[in-house]
């Protein structure tokens, strides 16, 4: 703790005419409007946002989509598959014609067929999005809740509270996270905490990812709170007689929403990858429910005969993560007061 500076902030705003004039031009627009305008101009970010929306729509409308464009995700089509290698046949009526290098992609099966079972890849990808997004969003929400509450409390109260919470964040960051997550997912038996099957798996994934990733949000919120609490409006609120609760949630929180929003958007792709990694390592969702990471881990057995099985789930993860990253980056830039255009 150091003495509060008495130094008057004498920075005269003369960073060039541009700044001055722009302020007045922007005066009648709210920050969000400005951000939205900037964001709209950012074509790449807009593309990201559109893909994100499409993905969410895809996940939500999965049953409808598969009804219209595909097959039930767990329906076998083994008559289309080569029994020996598991690959999709070029011509199901003529097994001798060999294996289709495109994995049986056709107007019926847009993304081809899963080796051996012949399940429709399109449906499985679409349903896989459900799990991926559900877990990623759930975990992000958990991160945000824990991170915000602890971050704001640490930042605002400082002292011992801050030390304890900051150390806790250090500890979480010092854990070999992935190891821990797989280990933990492995030691929890089915039926624990009154949950069973996929409800338990999803709950567990959300809990593990959320519980271990909150320090990322926590640190940002704490940092922002530290800066914000030096702002005079906090003192002003105190001098009006406002209590801590009022200051934390009425004065500070509204100012934190933007960074929280931005960073949770950027946390979602991290969480998607995390979920995929866990599924890949075999501690994900139960079969036959499809998950992207799980499909990828199954795919290595078939890369020689069905390369699409490696590529499609990988691309699904890649595109989703990329879209969220683009969206989040764009959001951050749009809200960044320093970005000049």
């Amino acid at each position: 703790m150091s003495a509060p500076s008495d130094a008057p902030e004498k920075q005269v705003e003369d960073s060039g005419a541009a700044a001055g004039q722009k302020t007045s031009a922007a005066a009648n627009r709210s920050l969000r409007q400005i951000a939205w305008q900037r964001f709209r101009r950012d074509k790449v970010a807009m593309a990201g946002a559109i893909v994100v929306l499409l993905l969410i729509a895809m996940a939500v409308l999965a049953p409808l989509l598969t009804k219209l464009l595909g097959f039930p995700p767990n329906e076998f089509h083994q008559s289309l598959m080569d029994p020996l290698t598991g690959g999709a046949l070029k011509d199901p009526d003529d097994p001798a014609a060999g294996i289709d290098p495109w994995g049986g992609m056709s107007a019926e099966h847009l993304l081809g067929l899963e080796p051996v079972t012949g399940r429709d890849m399109f449906s499985r990808i679409v349903y896989g999005a459900q799990i991926s997004l559900l877990v990623a969003f759930g975990a992000t929400v958990l991160c945000v809740i824990i991170g915000t509450v602890l971050g704001i409390v640490a930042g605002y109260f400082g002292g011992v509270t801050d030390t304890i919470i900051s150390r806790a964040m250090d500890i979480f960051l010092a854990f070999p996270l992935l190891l821990f997550a797989i280990a933990l997912a492995g030691v929890i038996p089915d039926g624990a905490f009154g949950l069973e099957g996929n409800a338990l798996r999803v709950g567990l994934l959300i809990f593990i990812i959320g519980f271990f990733n909150w320090p990322y949000i926590g640190r940002i919120v704490r940092g922002q709170t530290l800066t914000l609490k030096e702002r005079e409006f906090v003192e002003a609120a105190r001098s009006l007689g406002a209590g801590s609760g009022h200051i934390l949630f009425r004065e500070l929180l509204p100012n934190l929403i933007t960074p929280i929003l931005v960073y949770s958007t950027l946390l979602i792709p991290t969480n998607i990858i995390f979920e995929a990694s866990l599924s890949f390592l075999g501690v994900g969702i139960n079969p036959p429910t499809p998950s992207w990471g799980g499909m990828l881990s199954d795919s290595l057995d078939f890369y020689t005969t069905s390369p699409h099985f490696v590529i499609i789930p990988g691309l699904a993860i890649f595109i989703t993560v990329l879209a969220f990253n683009l969206f989040g980056d764009g959001l951050r830039d749009a809200f960044d007061p320093r970005s000049s255009d």
Binding site: L84, T117, D190, G282, P288, S297, L300, D301, F302
Partner: protein, 587 residues
């Protein structure tokens, strides 16, 4: 032997590779230069040669279970450990059906059986020595049996047949109970002199020679025993010895044991000068290196991983280096006889009718992965009945009408719900589970797949009746390869009611049928082979009728024979290539 299925895809991740070691299945190898033909090694010696020298290179996708012959249940260790640990008997070193016959190794000749069938006397050959030159004595063999079977701190990983079978030993508490005289009270084995060993059985047991094939009869000098740590350096009685101490995961190198006396050993030509084992190599990597000639044998013996298998089987030229033998393993779904509503035989039969065998076989890799079975006992074992077909259906896709009728019969019109346990890290088994789930759904049987780690599956989940009942695991994907290739060796553990255990239970169906139990007991007490075959066939039919075992495939492995490997053939006894005669043209 323990039945393990290699989980190839994930092997790449190391995930399943930890679990995939297989007791059965074979490592690929093939005669040098002169390529054999497709499946030649299943029935003939390929690339026969007496050329010695060179380094024979093994690799395995996980870590070796153990090097200690007393502490292993994996077929590949049983096969491999013979390089440095000789057993009393071993499987006949020749291809085809004869490879399942026990022949003398350290024993001078086959055991002398007493008239009542309860005592087996074995004479040791002359010239048996350890790597330090000292002589192998009958007491060392008795000690080895004691350390691996008796007492609460017996070595944990091996079988316990001696404990079950030997007379006058129930009070014996193991080699650590009395440090001054470790064998005091162990009266089931007599060692009248250094060259004679007599086994006293509680009752006649016709398959006992097969028990003497197991590596637990390899001699261990009492003063070298370090409990589980003995695996670091097994004192060699064979043609090779450890170059350095073994640490799990860091590989093993064997060099020639100069004290080994070739005259005393009819089994091992001991061609290579050095033998190396690399552990923890990705399955695809192993396959690739076999194909490139950078490796000689896949130690695990389970054959090519799915990725390379697909590639090789579709390549006519490469196929010449492939053998596709039956491993003697049955992959099946254990239909539990206690969990409702499957406690009703009709409900189990409904499952049998509804299953789509074509789909299940595809999950196992199609025809190269195994044949669709109509009974339980594999074709290589006496008692197999090729004419049995209790649940016929068109194209093996299941008979839904019959299934529905059976459902009605057991009062579950329209189906029921149950759970299906499966080892999560074995993609093939998971695929089979999914296939079964899909086919049962056709008659309204809703199956929920529950995944468990394979390391604990037999001990604590599928192998724990309490767990099975509590979690209503009506179905479990399981597999069995016999510890020895007879009807009893195959059937007793998976269908004999007396073998239902609280933990580590392999009678996952919990089938306890008096008729079956009696017939099995009779079969193993009689020495009459025809009577045995009749009884086994009867049991086979009865098990199928009871619907306790839904066979998936009689498994086949796809073994690759590198061209620089000599004297390659498939040994049905170990369900993989016989490792002892192998030589290499690689220097």
């Amino acid at each position: 032997m323990e039945l393990r299925k290699s989980a190839l895809g994930l092997a790449a991740l190391g995930v399943s590779s930890a679990l995939l070691l297989s007791a059965c299945g074979g490592g690929g190898s093939d005669g040098g230069g002169s390529a054999g033909s497709y499946d030649q090694g299943t029935t003939e010696v390929v690339n026969a040669s007496e050329e010695s020298g060179g380094t024979l290179r093994y690799a395995i996708s996980a870590n070796m279970e153990s090097t200690d012959p007393g502490n292993t249940y994996y077929g590949y260790v049983w096969n491999f450990s013979r390089y440095y640990a000789r057993t009393l008997l071993t499987y006949s070193p020749e291809p085809g059906a004869k490879s399942t016959e026990p022949v003398p190794d350290m024993a001078a000749e086959m055991p002398d059986i007493s008239d009542d069938g309860t005592s087996y006397t074995v004479k040791l050959r002359d010239g048996l020595t350890y790597e330090d030159g000292s002589a192998v004595t009958s007491e060392d063999i008795k000690y080895a049996v004691a350390r691996s079977n008796f007492g609460e701190d017996a070595l944990p990983n091996g079988p316990r047949y001696f404990k079950e079978l030997l007379a006058d030993s129930d009070d014996y508490e193991g080699v650590n109970a009395n440090p001054s005289d470790p064998l005091a009270g162990f009266d089931g084995i007599e060692t009248p002199d250094d060259k004679t060993i007599v086994f006293h059985l509680k009752k006649p047991f016709a398959d006992f020679p097969y028990v003497l094939v197991q590596p637990q009869t390899a001699p261990v000098p009492a003063d070298s025993d370090k409990g589980q740590q003995y695996q670091q350096h097994v004192v060699s009685s064979g043609p090779y010895k450890f170059e350095d101490d073994w640490k799990p995961g860091s590989g093993l190198t064997l060099v020639r044991n100069e004290e080994w006396n070739a005259d005393s050993d009819p089994i091992r030509p001991a061609l290579p000068d050095r033998i190396t084992v690399e552990e923890g190599v990705d399955q695809n990597e192993i396959d690739q290196r076999l194909i490139n000639g950078e490796l000689d044998v896949d130690l695990g013996g389970t054959g090519l991983g799915p990725a390379k298998k697909g590639e090789i089987l579709t390549d006519e030229a490469a196929k010449a280096n492939v053998d596709n033998p039956e491993t003697g393993a049955l992959r099946y779904v254990a239909v539990n006889t206690e969990v409702e509503p499957l406690d009703d035989e009709a409900c189990r039969q409904a499952v049998m009718y509804a299953a789509d065998h074509n789909s299940l076989q595809r999950a196992w890799g199609g025809a190269a992965g195994g044949e669709i079975p109509n009974d339980v006992i594999p074709p290589t074992i006496k008692g197999h009945d090729p004419d049995l077909d209790l649940y016929p259906s068109e194209d093996d896709k299941g008979d839904l009408d019959k299934a529905e009728a059976k459902l009605e019969e057991c009062g579950e019109d329209g189906g029921f719900e149950t759970n299906l346990g499966v080892r999560s890290d074995r993609p093939t088994e998971v695929a089979a589970a999914e296939a079964l789930q899909a086919s049962l759904k056709r008659v309204g049987i809703e199956v929920d797949i529950k995944q468990y780690p394979s390391d604990s599956f037999t001990n604590t989940q599928a192998g724990s009746p309490d767990f099975v009942h509590e979690n209503e695991l009506g179905l479990n994907v399981y597999g069995w390869i016999p510890d020895w290739p007879t009807g009893y060796g195959f059937l007793s553990y998976i269908v004999h009611g007396d073998n239902i255990k609280d933990a580590g239970n392999s009678n996952v169906s919990e089938l306890d049928d008096e008729q079956i139990n009696d017939m099995l007991d009779q079969a193993v007490e009689t020495g009459d082979e025809q009577e045995q075959e009749r009884l086994y066939k009867e049991v086979d039919r009865r098990v199928m009728e009871a619907g306790a075992i839904l066979p998936i495939v009689f498994e086949k492995s796809v073994l690759y024979r590198p061209e620089n490997l000599t004297n390659v053939y498939f040994s049905a006894g170990y369900a993989m290539y016989d490792y002892m005669p192998l030589g290499t043209t690689n220097q």
